[in-house]
């Protein structure tokens, strides 16, 4: 860093390229200057800025890199998507945390430039939208550096927001077109000496001796006394001007004396709204320890503390007071509501204030713990915490133009009155008096007083300019009837410059003297006839009207003049032409004299018409009588009285209207702040609403799942045949399945009734006791129960009912219909019995056969053959029967089965012929035995005992005596010659008996030459029936 290097920071945004072109175009080699350009760049595109700048200027241009040391004669441009700071003459690049725009890169760089370069820093704000750069320029100015903003004059900025915002903060030294800027900066004096610390201003500075002179010049030129101003600040401001102009102290004083404009500039410099946080810490301490506790005293939860910060500029003072209130309130158990109304006429400043974001340099006076507690910090800027911001309502408002707020506890209006001339102060102080509550406080700047309003305020702390409201009745507010009626919008700044140039030269003094001594009496009135200015010696023509004080010219005009004055005014108002030389006869102290009256319009100011009314004292010449015929005295008096009354009424109505308007305005302010609160609440409610919606969606899903589960359960309930009753711990029916209806007379309405009350179809008196036992032991219990009418049997189970948490919460009684199972069991038992019986019977039969066979056998061989043959015959019949499940079997099958042992392969000694007949099991067995006996007999003695013998077996059904008879013929052929035996053998006997006993028929034997022929005849109904034809033909 060279000793005399000045670093110029240039900030620009929209329209900035054009402005930079104007700035750099044709710029010669700068001596001892370096430029750093901070432009709002798109974060995701490569910047061509350096190349563009090179086209216009011979100065080397480079894109800044981290750690670049700034050297004279160079231009550095910011790369995209970074924040840049400077420290020790080197550039540093930081990644932005949020978007570049929100980070305000110009403020960030300027702030660091101010801290690094102090008085050598130069900041330039060019075209752009938004307010970036404003705070940075303030920081530069605070540090004693030079601040410039692009201004009109030919080629104004394409986008004026950024320069305007900077200008509105009062921090801009020079407002110039870009072309002029370059020249001005190049001609800056060399880098100044490091600025001395405030406390260490050398005592021998020549300036100190000249201070009283400077103060006096200021008093004369601009009408403000700065002798009470803090000396170090004062000296610094003057030094700055000196340095800027390149003058020494005596030279500067000369310049000041000669150039009223320089006095004005110094005045503006002195009035820079040095409203740092907690600036004048002693004042804030007094506020904190003394005034604020008094304001809070006696206020409860339902009360409000209202503070009005008038002329709040960029908000530091408003926030400082809000912080004090916030901290104080936190200690209170019953905290009242807080409201800080912060107003300024400058919308730009208000916007900056609302955001509550400040560069680090501006918060340096805040103690670290307060900084940590009440601010949030990002990228070298600090933002006031939301809680504090929410206390403050910022709005544009003029203390002169707009009605004041009401019910205010404390008004802070520091360094605003000094901008106002006495007349405006006259209006503002009573307005403050009106605004404040009884015993409310007013805080003014260090060089301000309430001057002529001691009846309204008592000074209670002189060093800190704290006043307390006196409880005098509020005068009717003069919220400029002119202003209200014409809605003029002249800003404070305008008035400021008007008043500054007002009374500053000798010519004016001479004019004053002439006016005072030699001019005729006159008044200046507005279009409504309100007197705006009195000349000396108007007393001959005017007098205060009775009643409320008024400045209405017609009311004040002396009797005799009124009508003429009014007529003349009307005429001038209507025509715009002056009225001159009117002569009016009037009586003064009984002497009649003539007064000349002329009214002429003045040059309108701020678009308001004004008129001068001049009263000439003329010679007491009698008037030509023809001129005017005076009206009859009495009627004139009457008219005037009436008019006066009407005027008074109108006046009071106007006042009431004004008051109502003021109240409306204050209500509006409150509504605005309420609205802001509502907005916040609305956001909160919205987020709560979103949460609720999510929860609701989840609930809906669960409800759907539940519905499904419920439907499944209902379907299961309705489909299940297992009758189930759900009981609670007290045997009350909780639910049941439809199948229960057959057992208990339950209808849906019976839910909630004790089970004992329900009529049951089963015999089971112990149900209650058993259920109670299950509930106690938690062991399931089974039992068979039968319906009263015996038509059904159920397996009843009692189970403990377990709720979701495994707690036993009642019992479950189920009934399973087991009627069919029981019947099957019984059937099975019967069948087993039957089987046993048959087996035993059969064994008995076998024993009987054995017993009888053995009696008729002579040898064991004979017995064995006969016995085994019979048992086999029996077995064959059984086999056949069991094949057909002990139903009927075809006769033919029985015969074939019995004959099988006697047929060898290919042999056909039997001929079977007959229709289909089905035999019942008993008959089949009997038939089987009969055929067996016949066959063994034939084998032993008959046709089958010889090789050629045959047997014909035929049967048919005959109708005899009204019933079907089965006739079955056994005929042996080609057998040996036989004779009727002497004694009926066992076999034939058995055949005959069996036919009779078991087939209810008869057997007839006939011994023929070819062999035995046996005819069996029996009723078909006793042995079976006709078979189907298809089973025929084996």
């Amino acid at each position: 860093m060279t000793g005399n290097l000045r670093i110029v920071g240039i900030g620009a945004s929209a329209g900035g390229i054009e402005a930079l072109r104007g700035f750099f175009h044709g710029m010669p080699e700068p001596d001892g200057l370096a430029f750093v350009v901070v432009l709002h760049l798109s974060p995701d595109r490569t910047s061509m800025l350096a190349e563009v700048l090179r086209q216009w200027s011979s100065i080397p241009v480079q894109q800044a890199t981290d750690g670049t040391a700034v050297a004279a004669g160079e231009v550095y441009v910011i790369p995209p998507n970074v924040l840049m700071t400077i420290e020790g003459g080197r550039l540093h690049l930081l990644p932005p945390t949020t978007t570049v725009r929100e980070n305000k890169p110009i403020d960030v760089f300027f702030t660091s430039l101010a801290a690094d370069q102090r008085a050598a820093a130069v900041g330039v704000v060019l075209s752009g939208t938004g307010s970036d750069g404003s705070l940075g320029l303030r920081a530069i100015k605070e540090a004693g550096g030079l601040s410039l903003a692009q201004g009109g004059n030919g080629h104004g900025p394409q986008y004026g927001d950024m320069p305007s915002s900077a200008i509105s903060t009062g921090a801009v030294d020079l407002i110039l077109p870009v072309e002029a800027m370059a020249e001005r900066i190049l001609n800056l004096p060399a880098r100044p000496e490091p600025e001395p610390e405030e406390a260490a201003i050398p005592a021998d500075t020549p300036l100190i001796d000249l201070l009283p002179q400077i103060c006096q010049i200021l008093r004369e030129q601009v009408g403000h006394d700065f002798s009470g101003y803090k000396r170090p600040t004062f000296i610094r401001r003057v030094q700055r001007r000196m340095q800027f102009l390149g003058l020494d102290a005596p030279g500067y004083v000369r310049r000041l004396r000669a150039d009223p404009n320089e006095a004005l500039l110094l005045f503006q410099d002195l009035l820079i709204r040095v409203t740092n946080f907690f600036r004048d810490s002693a004042t804030y301490r007094t506020l904190e320890t003394d005034i604020i506790p008094r304001i809070f005293a006696g206020k409860g939860r339902n009360d409000a503390v209202r503070v009005w910060v008038a002329g709040c500029a960029t908000g530091e003072e408003a926030y400082s007071i809000a912080m004090l209130l916030y901290e104080y309130r936190a200690q209170l158990p019953d905290s009242p509501k807080l409201q800080v109304l912060a107003t300024d006429i400058d919308e730009m400043a208000i916007n900056l204030a609302r955001s509550g974001r400040y560069p680090a340099l501006l918060v340096k006076d805040i103690p670290p713990e307060r900084l940590a507690h009440l601010f949030t910090s990002t990228d070298g800027t600090y933002q006031v915490r939301k809680e504090v911001r929410e206390l403050c309502t910022f709005s544009t408002h003029s203390v002169i133009r707009d009605p004041p707020f009401s019910r205010i506890d404390l008004i802070s209006c520091r360094n605003l009155l000094i901008y106002l001339d006495t007349e405006l102060q006259e209006r503002v102080i009573p307005a403050f008096h009106y605004s404040l509550v009884r015993d409310g406080y007013l805080l003014l700047g260090s060089s301000e007083m309430v001057s002529r309003h001691h009846e309204l305020f008592t000074l209670i702390d002189k060093p800190h300019r704290i006043f307390q409201r006196c409880d005098t009745p509020s005068r009717s507010l003069q919220v400029s009837s002119l202003a209200l009626s014409t809605r003029h919008t002249v800003g404070l700044a305008q008035r400021r410059s008007d008043s500054l140039v007002g009374w500053s030269n000798i010519a004016q003094a001479a004019k004053d003297r002439i006016l005072e001594r030699h001019a005729p009496a006159f008044v200046v009135v507005d279009a409504q006839g309100e007197i705006l200015h009195f000349s000396p010696r108007t007393g001959r023509y005017l007098e205060p009207a009775a009643g409320m004080p008024t400045r209405d010219l017609v009311s004040m005009a002396k009797r005799g003049l009124r009508l003429e004055v009014r007529a003349a005014l009307r005429k001038v108002l209507a025509t715009g032409q002056p009225v001159e030389g009117m002569r009016v006869q009037m009586d003064t102290d009984g002497l009649s004299h003539t007064v000349g009256l002329s009214v002429e319009p003045l040059q309108p100011r701020d678009g308001h018409r004004m008129f001068i009314v001049v009263f000439h004292e003329t010679a007491n010449a009698p008037q030509p009588e023809t001129d005017t015929a005076p009206l009859p005295r009495e009627s004139t008096d009457e008219l005037e009285r009436e008019l006066s009354n009407t005027r008074e009424q109108l006046q009071s109505i106007v006042e009431e209207h004004d008051t109502a308007l003021e109240e409306l305005k204050s209500s509006n302010e409150e509504l605005q702040s309420t609205n802001e609160e509502l907005e916040t609440s609305k956001e909160e409610i919205q987020s709560v609403n979103e949460e609720l919606q999510t929860t609701n969606a989840q609930l809906n899903m669960k409800v759907e799942e539940l519905d499904h589960a419920n439907n499944d359960l209902r379907n299961l309930f309705e489909s299940t045949q297992v009758a189930t009753i759900f009981l609670d711990r007290f045997m009350v029916v909780r639910s049941f399945t439809p199948a229960v209806a057959g057992i208990y007379n339950l209808i849906p309405g019976d839910r909630g009734r004790p089970l004992a009350d329900i009529v049951s179809q089963i015999d089971y008196p112990d149900l209650q006791a058993d259920t109670r036992r299950v509930l106690n032991t938690l062991q399931p219990f089974d039992r068979r129960v039968i319906r009263h009418d015996g038509s059904a049997q159920y397996l009843m189970r009692i189970l403990p009912y377990r709720a979701a948490d495994s707690q036993v919460d009642g019992a479950l009684v189920t009934f399973t219909d087991i009627t069919s199972v029981v019947q099957a069991e019984q059937q099975e038992r019967v069948m087993v019995d039957e089987l046993n019986h048959r087996v035993r019977n059969m064994l008995t039969v076998v024993i009987s056969i054995a017993t009888q066979t053995i009696r008729r056998s002579s040898t064991l061989e004979e017995f064995s053959k006969a016995f085994i043959g019979r048992v086999n015959a029996l077995a064959s019949a059984y086999t056949l029967l069991s094949r057909d499940n002990w139903t009927s079997v075809p006769l033919r099958d029985v015969l074939t089965e019995e004959l099988r042992p006697f047929m060898s392969a290919g042999e056909s000694r039997f001929a079977l012929e007959g229709e289909a007949v089905l035999l019942q099991p008993r008959a089949a067995l009997a038939f089987g035995m009969i055929i067996h006996e016949l066959t063994t007999n034939a084998v032993k003695y008959g046709a089958l005992s010889v090789p050629d013998g045959r047997v014909e077996l035929s049967w048919n059904i005959l109708r005899q005596d009204g019933a079907d008879q089965l006739i079955c013929c056994w005929t042996e052929r080609d057998g040996p010659q036989i004779e009727r035996p002497q004694r009926r053998g066992f076999g034939l006997g058995l055949i005959e008996r069996s036919t009779k006993y078991e087939l209810e028929g008869e057997a007839i034997s006939d011994w023929q030459p070819g062999g035995l022929a046996v005819t069996l005849k029996m009723p078909l109904g006793a042995i079976g029936g006709r078979g189907r034809a298809s089973s025929e033909g084996m």
């Binding site: 046993n836 019986h837 058995l990 069996s994």
Partner: protein
């Protein structure tokens, strides 16, 4: 072994649907010089004989081609004629209140059968 003399001259009603068994019992009774009434294989014949025939004792098969012999037994009981039931079923198949009726299970030995018959006829009043 019972002696034939104990049964000589007794009129014995024989009811059995199974011819082989009936023939065996008939033969056995005849050997003991009894007069056999029957044998009958159907309930109708049996009941009618039980009501009307002069009978000293009866041997009744319990199941006659699927019909129970009880009506015939009741008729005998009314006449105070002792009888012995032959049954392939277990003991429990008797009608309620008739559990005391004597039953001889099938299959049986003739000795056993006659021993029980002997006890029946020796009692003064069954």
């Amino acid at each position: 072994m019972t002696t034939p003399a104990e049964f000589a001259g007794l009129r014995v009603l024989l009811v059995e649907d199974e011819l082989a068994i009936a023939m065996m019992l008939e033969l056995a009774l005849e050997e003991r010089q009894c007069t056999v009434v029957g044998p009958y294989g159907s309930l109708d014949e049996a009941r009618s004989a039980a009501r009307t025939e002069p009978i000293d004792v009866a041997v009744l098969d319990i199941n006659l081609a699927g019909e129970m012999v009880y009506p015939a037994a009741e008729a005998l009981a009314e006449r105070n004629i002792p009888f012995l039931l032959l049954s392939g079923y277990g003991s429990a198949r008797l009608p309620p209140g008739r559990q005391h009726w004597p039953v001889c299970g099938k299959p049986f030995s003739l000795d056993d059968l006659f021993a029980r018959l002997a006890r029946l006829v020796s009692k003064p009043d069954p």
